[in-house]
């Protein structure tokens, strides 16, 4: 059995007083303390990060945390770095290479200008896309336009994603934007890459999260952890209105956990852009294809809905420190399943799901967790 014994998330936001190293220490110390383990019981460290110019992050984390000379490595899979890192921890545990793995996701984004960040994020795209000056927002803008044309929705329909996730974030003190927003604010925000406006986009965020994944008994079981990949380039995909990697990773994760979408009590999905959440809830089977926007608008995925989605505020309102996001999603579900999610706690829940995407869909990771 694989369990998540400890979980911790730092405050997300523009953390000007904290460096990447500070964030790694805060998250790592927090998760180890939460696990109730002495430091010498950690026998593998995996650091998830996408953008740091500082290399050798695995060994650096071990040094900063004062751990024994344990093996350590860095995992990079664009915005799915965190999810892939957790999945790699599971692989190490199943192989018998470790008993307690500390997975830290950390990213420091606000030391760079917006233009530098846009360029750095384009590193997750193909060379043709980079040459076209096609930003990360632009890639999802192309998908949103194709989705608009196929399913006849408008930017007004996208707005309900931001409104829901900001409403959820207003209950999360660690969120970057812990306040609700009105429809008018969302619609009047400036355009970033048409048809996507500022409030359709996850922000630039500093933050870290960490979990201790273990083969020892714990309160929360990590029942399945599945990765799937697809073409890095959007031009090579079969469809512009769904992410095949999400569908495959989801299908494999449901099969491994022996559950289906109807069994999921709550989920954290990868809403880097509003259109991404709409496609995610469809691709994960939470609603029919083409009905994502309407289902969100109807409140099915609200705090008191049939399947609460992104109670943390999601990437949109809790924040998106890219390499840390996949780990933070696990920490959020663990908090919920352990009944310590404070004002955003949902009652009578047993099974939670996380969904983490890299780039425009080149990697997807789906994890399913169960309360023991």
């Amino acid at each position: 059995m694989i369990t998540v014994r400890g979980a911790f998330q730092t405050k997300f936001g523009e953390l000007w007083e904290q460096s990447l190293e500070d964030l790694i220490v805060e998250a790592g110390e927090g998760a180890i303390k939460d696990a109730g383990l002495p430091k010498n019981k950690i026998d593998l460290v995996i650091v998830a990060n996408m953008l740091a110019e500082q290399n050798h992050l695995g060994a650096l984390a071990v040094q900063l945390l004062g751990l024994d000379q344990v093996p350590a490595l860095r995992v990079e899979a664009a915005c799915a770095s965190g999810g892939v890192a957790v999945s790699q921890a599971v692989t190490a545990l199943k192989a018998g290479a470790a008993e307690n793995v500390l997975v830290i996701g950390a990213e420091k984004m606000t030391d760079k200008s917006n233009g530098q960040i846009a360029l750095a994020l384009m590193g997750a795209a193909s060379e043709v896309e980079r040459q076209a000056g096609l930003t990360f927002v632009g890639l999802y803008g192309l998908m949103a336009r194709a989705y608009f044309d196929r399913f006849k929705i408008t930017k007004n329909d996208l707005a309900y994603v931001a409104i829901k996730n900001h409403r959820h974030a207003s209950r999360n003190p660690k969120a970057q934007y812990p306040f609700p927003v009105e429809m008018e604010t969302v619609l009047k925000s400036s355009c970033v890459a048409s048809p996507l406006h500022l409030f359709d986009c996850a922000p630039i965020t500093d933050g870290a999260a960490a979990v201790v994944v273990s083969n020892q008994f714990g309160e929360v079981e990590l029942v399945s952890s599945q990765i799937a990949t697809d073409s890095v380039s959007l031009t090579e995909r079969e469809s512009l209105t769904e992410l095949k990697a999400t569908k495959i990773a989801g299908k494999k994760a449901y099969a491994q956990a022996e559950v289906g979408p109807v069994d999921i009590d709550l989920a954290e999905v990868h809403d880097c852009f509003s259109i991404a959440e709409i496609m995610a809830v469809e691709d994960l089977g939470f609603c029919q294809k083409g009905e994502g926007a309407e289902t969100i608008k109807n409140g099915d995925f609200d705090h008191n809905g049939r399947l609460p989605v992104n109670l943390s505020g999601g990437l949109k309102a809790c924040g998106h420190p890219v390499g840390a996001t996949g780990v933070k999603q696990i920490a959020e579900i663990v908090d919920q399943l352990r009944g310590r999610a404070g004002a955003r706690q949902v009652k009578n829940i047993r099974i939670g799901l996380t969904h983490n995407v890299g780039g425009s869909g080149g990697t997807a990771v789906v994890n399913i967790l169960r309360k023991l």
Partner: protein, 94 residues
């Protein structure tokens, strides 16, 4: 700084779609541009016989979904005075 060698190497592929004709299947207007690009500008997703590609739109007329388009030779991105200017394919109405 852009590597002159990398730009030289990319010549083999940069002009692949020069003169190719296809149709616009999606589009986005990039307002917040990355470092090294001057905007705003349109990027179009073009369906060609041999598959899809993306590129910047280089026409005064706004791109429309379904519009017939042709690949033309244009300068790519912005450069510093000491850098090599890179050329590649952009798209215009056909």
């Amino acid at each position: 700084m852009k590597s002159p060698v990398a730009i030289w190497r990319r010549q083999k592929t940069n002009y692949r779609n020069l003169g190719a004709v296809g149709r616009v299947v999606s589009k986005t207007r990039i307002i917040e541009t990355p470092s090294g690009f001057i905007g705003p500008y349109w990027v179009v997703l073009v369906q060609l016989k041999q598959g899809r590609t993306v590129g910047q739109w280089a026409d005064e007329a706004e791109p429309k979904i379904g519009m017939k388009t042709i690949g033309i030779l244009r300068r790519i991105g912005d450069v510093e005075p000491s850098e090599v200017i890179e050329y590649g394919v952009k798209w215009k109405k056909w």
